[in-house]
Symmetry: C3
C-alpha cells in the first residue's frame, strides 16, 4: 500500500514522488501557486500552521535544505526546531525509534527527515503515530521529492502544460536522488518525452523501465529539448574511478552555450544547486537568459509551504485560508 496517502487519497507523508497520482501532484502544484503571492509580499507570512511544531531531523548536515524548510515553516507561522541527530542522544545509545517516540510524545506534528541512507524516511514514516507527518528532505540515492516537485512546479510556471514537452535530464543519474524523483513526477504529469543523458558508468541499470529514453551523446539528447535539467556532479559520493576527469566530463557533458543551440530556442535550463561552475555547467549558461535556476530556489519555498500545509492541514491549506484566523 502507498504509505504516503491516507484512505481518502490525501497526502499523509511526502516520501517520494513515486506513486503519487497526477491529480494529487497537480493539487500540490496548485497549492504552491497560491503561496507564491505570499512570498512576494513584504509581510511574507500566513497564520496557517500557528501553534504547530515541525522538527528538522537531520541525520546528515545540509544547511541549504534545512534553510529552505525553516523559511517555509516560518512563513506558515509554525514553530520549527532543528535537531542535528549526530550530536543528540543518539550518541547516548538511544535507538532511532526511541528518539522518534520521544519527539512524538512532545507533540511534534511533523518531521522533516534528511538521511544519508536510502529508505530512512520510509522507515520513519512506517513507525510514526497517526497524527505525525514525515517529509523526506533527501535520503541516500533514493529520493528528494520536494526538489522534484519544485522542478515540475518551475516547468509548469515557465511552460504551462507537460504533454508537449521534451525534457532532458543530464549528468550523474546514478548517484542522484533528485533524478529518480524528477522522472517519476514528470512521467506522472504526462510529460511528452523524458530523456536521460549520461555516460554509461553514471546510469543506473534498467533506467529505461521508468519510461525514459537514454542518450550517451549529449548533442543528440539535447536535440529539440524544451527543458534541460542539469544534475550536480556528486563528487563527494563517487567512490572509485567512474569518471576519467572533471575536465573530460565537462568536455562531454558540460552544458555550454554552444550545446544549448541544439535545444528549442525557448528552452529553459535548470539545476538543483549548488552549481559546480565549469564542471557540469558553464557560467555563461547558468547566469544566462535561459537559466531559471534562481526561480527554482524561489519556487522551492512555495512548494515546501504547500507540502507542509497539506500534510499538516485539515484540507484548507491554500494561502488564502487562515487569513480569517488573524482577523478573529
Amino acid at each position: 500500500m502507498n504509505l504516503q496517502l491516507d484512505e481518502n487519497g490525501r497526502l499523509r507523508h511526502l516520501l517520494t514522488t513515486e506513486g503519487i497520482p497526477r491529480e494529487l501532484l497537480t493539487r500540490i502544484l496548485d497549492t504552491a501557486e497560491s503561496f507564491t503571492g505570499v512570498i512576494g509580499k513584504s509581510v511574507k507570512k500566513v497564520p496557517l500552521l500557528r501553534g504547530r511544531t515541525v522538527i528538522n531531523l537531520f541525520f546528515e548536515p545540509s544547511t541549504r535544505t534545512r534553510t529552505t524548510f525553516e523559511l517555509a515553516a516560518q512563513r506558515l507561522s509554525a514553530d520549527i526546531l532543528n535537531i542535528d541527530i549526530a550530536t543528540s542522544s543518539a550518541s547516548k545509545g538511544e535507538s532511532l525509534l526511541d528518539t522518534l517516540r520521544n519527539l512524538e510524545a512532545m507533540q511534534c506534528d511533523a518531521f522533516v527527515v534528511r538521511h544519508s541512507e536510502s529508505g530512512a524516511a520510509h522507515f520513519i514514516a512506517r513507525h510514526v503515530s497517526p497524527g505525525v507527518a514525515v517529509i523526506n528532505a533527501g535520503d541516500g540515492r533514493h529520493a528528494h521529492p520536494t526538489q522534484a516537485l519544485l522542478d515540475v512546479f518551475t516547468i509548469r510556471r515557465e511552460k504551462g502544460a507537460f504533454e508537449p514537452l521534451t525534457v532532458a535530464i543530464v549528468g550523474d543519474i546514478l548517484h542522484s536522488r533528485v533524478a529518480r524523483s524528477q522522472i517519476h513526477a514528470l512521467m506522472a504529469l504526462g510529460t511528452g518525452e523524458v530523456r536521460v543523458i549520461a555516460p554509461r558508468t553514471l546510469l543506473p541499470a534498467h533506467i529505461q523501465r521508468l519510461g525514459v529514453r537514454v542518450y550517451e551523446d549529449m548533442d543528440a539528447g539535447l536535440d529539440g529539448a524544451d527543458v534541460v535539467m542539469m544534475l550536480r556532479l556528486q563528487r563527494e559520493r563517487m567512490r572509485g574511478a567512474l569518471l576519467p576527469s572533471e575536465g573530460e566530463f565537462f568536455r562531454r557533458y558540460g552544458l555550454t552555450e554552444q550545446r544549448l543551440e541544439r535545444t528549442r530556442p525557448d528552452a529553459i535550463v535548470m539545476h538543483p544547486g549548488p552549481i559546480n561552475r565549469g564542471v557540469e555547467i558553464d557560467s555563461a549558461v547558468a547566469d544566462g537568459p535561459r537559466s531559471v535556476i534562481l526561480h527554482q530556489v524561489t519556487n522551492g519555498i512555495a512548494v515546501r509551504m504547500a507540502v507542509m500545509s497539506m500534510v499538516l492541514g485539515g484540507g484548507a491549506e491554500t494561502a488564502g485560508s487562515g487569513r480569517e484566523e488573524v482577523a478573529s
Copy 2:
C-alpha cells in the same frame, strides 16, 4: 535562606526540589495540569510569555533537554535563544559572571542552565539581577528538578494521592541527579514510602537520612510497590570499576516482566530516558502496558511550561490567562 522562593513564598528560581514546600509543589503541578489541555490541541500555543526572552544557557550539551525547554518556551510564545557556552565568548577569556551581566543587560528574562558541575545553577541564581529567573536543567550529580517534577506530576496523574503509595527508585542512585530531586519531591508531597534499590557501590553515603528505605535486593525492594522509577545507568559518568559488568547489573537490577510481578498489579513503570534497553530495563517492560515512560515525556512539556510561566509570570500563569490578551 531559600534562594528559590521570594518573600511571598512564590517561585523565584527553580534550582532544586529540596526545600520547596508541599503547597508550592502542588501549585506547580496544578499549573502544569492546566497546560496539558494546550499541548493536546492542534494550536499548541498560549500568548502568556509573548515578548519575554528565555536563554538556554548550556555549558554541557543535551539536545534532549534543550529541546523540551525550547518547545515549552515556544508554546508559551516566549522568544528563546540557545547559547552553547562552550563555543561562546567564554573562550575569549570572559568570566561566567561577565557573560551573565551581559545577557542581563540585553534584558533577558530567564536562564535555563545546564552544567556538568554541581551547584552551578545556584551560583548563577545568587548572582543574577532581581528581574531575572534561573531554571536548573541539570547540574552535575546534584539536581534535575524539572525531571523530578514531571515524575511526580506523572505519578499524580496516574495514581492520584501520594499518601497511600509505595515508590521504589532503582539503579544508579550515586551518579543520578534525578534521584535526589525525586526523593525530595516525593517526601515533601507526603508519599507513603520511598525506597531506593541499588548495589552498595551505587548508593550515596547516608542516603537513609533523606527518609528512604534502602534495599540491595531488588525483589524485596519491589515487593508491593505502586510505582517503579528506573534510573538510567550513567555509564559515561562512572569512573573505575563500580560495577562487575552490564550483564551482571541487568541480572541483579534490570527490570523484567518477571520481576515486575513482585509489585502491585496496577503498578506503573517510569524512566527518565534515554533508555538503555537490556541494561537497566527490558524492552518488554519499557514498551509494555505498565510503562508510562512516554507519558512522562509529554508531561515534561507541561511541567516546564508551568515552571517557566511561574518564575516569569506575575501570578496569573495558568493556561487560561493570557487568552484575553489575544482577543484584545
Copy 3:
C-alpha cells in the same frame, strides 16, 4: 558613491560609519531612543518587521554579536535564521556569490554579515539585489559600525551634546575594527576633541589624518577627558611581538582608579566587551560608578533594532509605528 545611502540619502545598508552624514547619524540615534522604551517593558516586542526575514550570515563565529542581532530581530518580530557559512554549502564548493543569489531567491530581506576579512560586507552589498539590505557586524580590522553607533548613542544618553566633549580612545587601535568606526562617528557628530592613546606599535600609520590627537602617554591623554573608551586587547589577532607583555601593557595603558583621576570628575568609562580584567582595565573601574559598560550592552539592542528597522522599513521605523498594525 556612497554604497550605503540611497538616492534620497536614506540608509540602504550599514557598512561603516565613515561617510554617514551627521543628520542621518542623529536620525539613527533618535530611532534607537524610541526603542529603549520597548526594551524596558515586560512585553519587549513591536510588530514592525513581522513577516520579514533576516539572515545572520556569519563567516567567523561570534556568539555575542550573533545574540545581539538575534534579540533585536526577535523584538522587531522579524524571522531570523542563523547560517554558519563555515559549515554550509560553501564547503560543497559553491561560491559566495552563488550562496548570496540563493538566499536572495528565498526572499530574504537582510543579511547581517560577520567576516574575518576587511571589506567583505562591502563586497556583499555591491552584489545584492535592490530589495536586500546588508548590515556589517564586523569585518576584519575594518569596521564594526553597530558597535560604534551604540557607543555614540551611549555617550549622547549620558552626556547630551557632543561639541563640548573630549573623548579618549585607549589601547590597541591598530587591530581594532571598533576604533575606526568610533572615530568616524565621533568626528561626524562634531565631538570637541577625539584623542587616541596607544603605544606606537599599536597605532595605524597616518591616524592623525582622521582628525584625532595622538598620545603615547596615557596620563597626558586622559587629562580632562569626559569619556574614556577602552579597547579590548585583541590578543588573538596579534602576530609577532608588538607588545612586551600583558603586565607591561597594563602598567602603561591599563585603566585604573588612580589613572581615572586625570579625567573630569564626571567622566564615563566605556568598553566594547568582552573585558580582559587586569589586562586593559582594572576590575574596580569596570565595575565602578563611572562605568557605563553594561549600559552599552543594553543600548546595543536598541541601536541594532534601529538600524534593522531603518534599512528594512519604509520610513516609519520608530517604536510607535507598527502598533496600529497590531490593533487592526
